[in-house]
Amino acid sequence: MSPPDRKEAEVRRMLDGPHPLVPPDLALRAAVRGRRLLARRRALSRAGWLLLFLAALALTVWAATQQPWTPPPTHTTPPLEGW
């Protein structure tokens, strides 16, 4: 065994001391908190999708009414030529 291994083993033994007592309701508390986290995450993603849908809807309505692809009406008369 090389010296670093021996040192590691020594510290490992120190770390492996008496274990603390696990409170009986730890799993329950963590599960309740996890459920709340999940619900919050779901609500957030639902709100994001809703926002995206509304934005798409607004764009469609705007495009249908304004028709931005049609050329704007000309305000100048074309030059008069050939007479």
Partner: protein, 163 residues
């Protein structure tokens, strides 16, 4: 749809409870080492840290896809400890409380949890050489603390070190 969702929630709760029953003892010891609270006594800070990590594992449970929930929780524990490291600088009377939080984390992950050096480096976002150096320094500090606190007669390992 709603019925299927509630059935899934039931199953998740059951699996999670079984996982915590098996792993909580070891994980709480890890958390106690990290927070530097004395062993063998109630450790409220470590419990809070572990509860946060476990709740994130719970929220991630359906997307684990074969990943070990223990590894996941350890990862969350390390992330949460790193995020709140400033709060753990103050000594609390535990075994590792003289080490800075980052050294403590590396030492616990490497030696107590047995995570490989490369994996520890990836977990903490550090280069592997840095992890190696931190671990060596932490080991040296722990051994010097032990030598200064324990009387020579109480540690049989000390005899082997002396020439």
């Amino acid at each position: 749809m709603r019925e299927r969702q509630s059935a899934r929630e039931c199953r998740r709760a059951r699996e999670f409870e079984a996982f915590v029953a098996g792993a909580a003892g070891r994980l709480l010891h890890t958390a106690t080492l990290l927070t530097g609270e004395p062993p063998g006594a109630p450790a409220p800070v470590a419990e809070e840290l572990l509860t946060v990590a476990l709740s994130r594992t719970y929220a991630y449970w359906d997307r684990l896809r074969g990943e070990d929930p223990y590894d996941r929780t350890r990862q969350e524990l390390a992330a949460e400890f790193t995020r709140t490291a400033r709060r753990h600088r103050r000594p609390r009377g535990g075994l590792l409380d003289r080490l800075p939080p980052q050294e403590r984390l590396v030492l616990v992950l490497r030696l107590y949890e047995g995570v490989a050096e490369e994996q520890t480096a990836a977990l903490l976002g550090l280069p592997a050489e840095r992890v190696h150096a931190l671990c060596l320094r932490a080991i040296a500090e722990m051994r010097s603390i032990r030598r200064s606190t324990a009387p020579p007669a109480a540690s049989p390992g000390a005899g082997a070190v002396a020439p």
